[in-house]
């Protein structure tokens, strides 16, 4: 499958690595608006570099475009790609608003192209195992759940006044997506957050339709360290993943990496083994299901961002049959 890669940052490089190693895909070109990034990756994989998406589409005529960044960063551009007839593979979130995501979904539906949404957390092997154990009843009925993500503030994003929204929409959306995939529909979202120059902290509490309570703590790490951990306390047991076991752990800006943690570079930040081969070969029904999940996660992220601004809980309408979204709907 003739594939182009858009976005040549660290995650884009991981994409390129897997695409070039895959038998199912042929990496045909790379795109980035920053020429030096595009050229460096192009040189490494022996493919042409583009700084114009339109030019790449018309010259390469790809069957698949991997956008290794949040779809929300370039919804209009992605709609152009869909109109060219290429399938899309994107990172969450699908838009900065649900309406924006729906425009992209509709565009893909009209062009008859697949929109693969990565959902890095929900389908990483570690988290898939957590979900399997929870849903298989290994610890009984879930009661109180904690998720944490902290990591470095992306260099490209330091716009004042937007760091809370960025944290929720671009990072914690993955946690919300994972939790919703594991625990079902959410009825209430309450979130608090604050922001300073170069930093933001967010705490989101979800009340699920099944009554379970989850809290997500997220922040841009002052020390840049990436940490992700979970705990599910349920009626007959407890599941944990990640976490620190020290009585006191001080993580400081510009200090050596903290002692006591596994190395940063969690699977969810990069790509796990053969992820693209598996992800991009899913049946259409599964692709649609993942799209619906990503749209629902975006709804949660938007609700959380609204709750931070309003200081009030946001009640969500429950859909007994589950959220049904298909391309073009």
């Amino acid at each position: 499958m003739k594939t182009v890669l858009a976005g040549c940052g660290p995650l884009g490089a991981a994409y390129a690595e897997q695409l070039s190693a895959s038998k199912a895909f042929t990496l045909a070109a790379v795109y980035d608006e920053q020429p030096e990034l595009a050229e460096a990756l192009a040189l490494r994989f022996g493919v042409p570099a583009y700084t114009s998406m339109q030019e790449m589409l018309s010259e390469i005529n790809p069957q698949l475009c991997c956008w290794s960044r949040p779809a929300a960063d370039a919804v209009d551009l992605l709609m152009t790609v869909a109109a060219s007839g290429a399938d899309l593979a994107v990172e969450q979130p699908l838009g900065r608003s649900v309406a924006e995501a729906d425009r992209l979904l509709a565009a893909c539906g009209e062009s008859g192209v697949k929109l693969h949404v990565r959902q890095a957390k929900r389908y990483s092997p570690e988290h898939a195992m957590l979900r399997q154990l929870v849903q298989g009843g290994s610890v009984g009925t879930p009661g109180v759940i904690h998720a944490k993500w902290c990591g470095p503030l992306p260099e490209r994003s330091a716009e004042p006044g937007s760091l809370v929204d960025l944290l929720i929409m671009d990072r914690l959306v993955e946690e919300l997506d994972f939790l919703q995939g594991m625990l079902g529909e959410v009825r209430t979202v309450y979130a608090s957050g604050r922001e300073q120059e170069g930093g933001a902290q967010v705490m989101i509490t979800l009340r699920f339709a099944n009554d379970a309570i989850a809290n997500v703590l997220g922040y841009w790490s002052p020390d840049g360290l990436m940490v992700s951990d979970y705990e599910v306390a349920a009626s007959t047991g407890i599941l944990t993943s990640g976490g620190n076991d020290r009585s006191l752990l001080l993580r400081r800006q510009a200090a050596a990496p903290a002692v006591g943690y596994a190395q940063p570079g969690h699977a969810a930040e990069g790509l796990h083994y053969q992820e693209l081969d598996i992800w991009l070969s899913l049946e259409p029904a599964v692709v649609a299901e993942r799209m619906a999940g990503a749209r629902a996660a975006l709804e949660l992220a938007v609700a959380a961002a609204d709750s931070v601004k309003q200081g009030m809980p946001v009640q969500l309408a429950l859909q007994e049959k589950g959220r049904q979204v298909t391309a073009g709907s």
């Binding site: 209430t188 608090s192 705490m203 809290n215 009030m312 809980p313």
Partner: protein, 332 residues
């Protein structure tokens, strides 16, 4: 040195046994007697320590004791504290200090009026990791503190802990206060607003809550979340946890007050267990209390601290009922 004479008022709360043990280890303390309305609850203890047993606390309070330790059901803390204060006895009261603003204010006022000291039993203050954290925060090692997340989860309460008439509630009233007190102490700030989701998630048919997530806004702008749930399964290696993650402008501090442990895997128990090798925080609490009373200095954790922590739990219940944030007043 003159011995401090102490009376024990009720063994309803299991911590009474720990406190009595550590009091009995002090050469400058004499525990003279125990009051408990249930003689069978304290029979063994009375025999072991060879001390007097009282069926009413008035008689104990009329004796020549200097101070009392109150470990009754939550609903009786106020009545007993006020009676002890009126009798001129210093009080160490188990947490939560009380079940309403009115009764906690009356407890504090009675002690003040009668010139006795009221200490709230918050042993977590004395955990080495907590003490070190306090020093490092005071040195400004995190820069400005921005956000804090706390956990004080535990095994499910039993007996009177799940009888709302005696306990005043479930996990929220039982487990909010320890870490709430640490947050107040670390931040030098009070909570101004509370939002809580509260539920009966582990035993839905119970009369009291067992799960909650409490959002906090402090009067200095810090935001926080606290989980007081009775969410530890019987298979968990210990009774619960006391943890905080404190996020500042220049760093992050993770505190686990119970992490000084070895892991025990024994065929005698069908689970792994954590065995503490660190400081016994109940001993540290008792030592701090006795030292303050013996030296005539102020107790390190007072009634105001207990009140400030407990009123956050009360606000959490109010918030859950209203499904909206609840503002709470300034200091106690």
């Amino acid at each position: 040195m003159k011995k401090l004479k102490v009376g024990m008022m009720s063994f309803a709360h299991g911590h009474a046994g720990f406190f009595l043990h550590w009091l009995s280890q002090r050469p400058d303390v004499e525990v003279t007697g125990i009051y408990d309305e249930l003689s069978e609850r304290v029979q063994g203890t009375v025999a072991h320590y060879g001390m007097a047993y009282f069926t009413d606390y008035e008689t104990l309070l009329a004796s020549d004791i200097d101070a009392v330790v109150i470990c009754s059901e939550n609903a009786r803390h106020a009545e007993m504290t006020i009676a002890a204060a009126k009798a001129g006895k210093h009080v160490l009261c188990e947490k939560p200090l009380g079940l309403s603003d009115g009764e906690m204010q009356a407890m504090i006022a009675a002690c003040s009026q009668h010139g006795v000291q009221l200490m709230t039993a918050f042993p977590c203050r004395f955990a080495p990791a907590v003490q070190t954290a306090k020093h490092r925060l005071e040195r400004g090692e995190l820069g400005e503190i921005l956000a804090v997340k706390g956990y004080n989860r535990g095994l499910r309460g039993e007996g009177w802990f799940v009888d709302p008439a005696l306990s005043g509630g479930g996990a929220v009233i039982d487990h909010t206060v320890h870490v709430m007190d640490l947050m107040h102490w670390f931040l030098n700030a009070q909570v101004s607003s509370v939002y809580a989701e509260v539920g009966k998630l582990f035993v839905p048919e119970a009369e009291v809550d067992d799960a909650a997530m409490i959002h906090l806004t402090f009067d200095n702008g810090v935001i926080g979340v606290l989980d007081p749930s009775w969410s530890r399964s019987t298979s968990y290696p210990t009774w619960g946890d006391v943890r905080l993650e404190i996020i500042g402008t220049t760093g992050v501090l993770e505190v686990d007050a119970l992490a000084d442990k070895v892991h025990l895997y024994s065929n005698d128990a069908a689970k792994s267990q954590w065995v503490n090798w660190g400081v016994d925080i109940n001993q540290a609490l008792i030592d701090a209390w006795v030292d303050a009373l013996q030296s005539g200095t102020l107790v390190p954790v007072n009634g105001e601290d207990g009140y400030a922590a407990a009123k956050v739990a009360l606000a959490a219940y109010a918030s859950a009922e209203r499904q909206a944030p609840v503002a709470i007043g300034g200091g106690a």
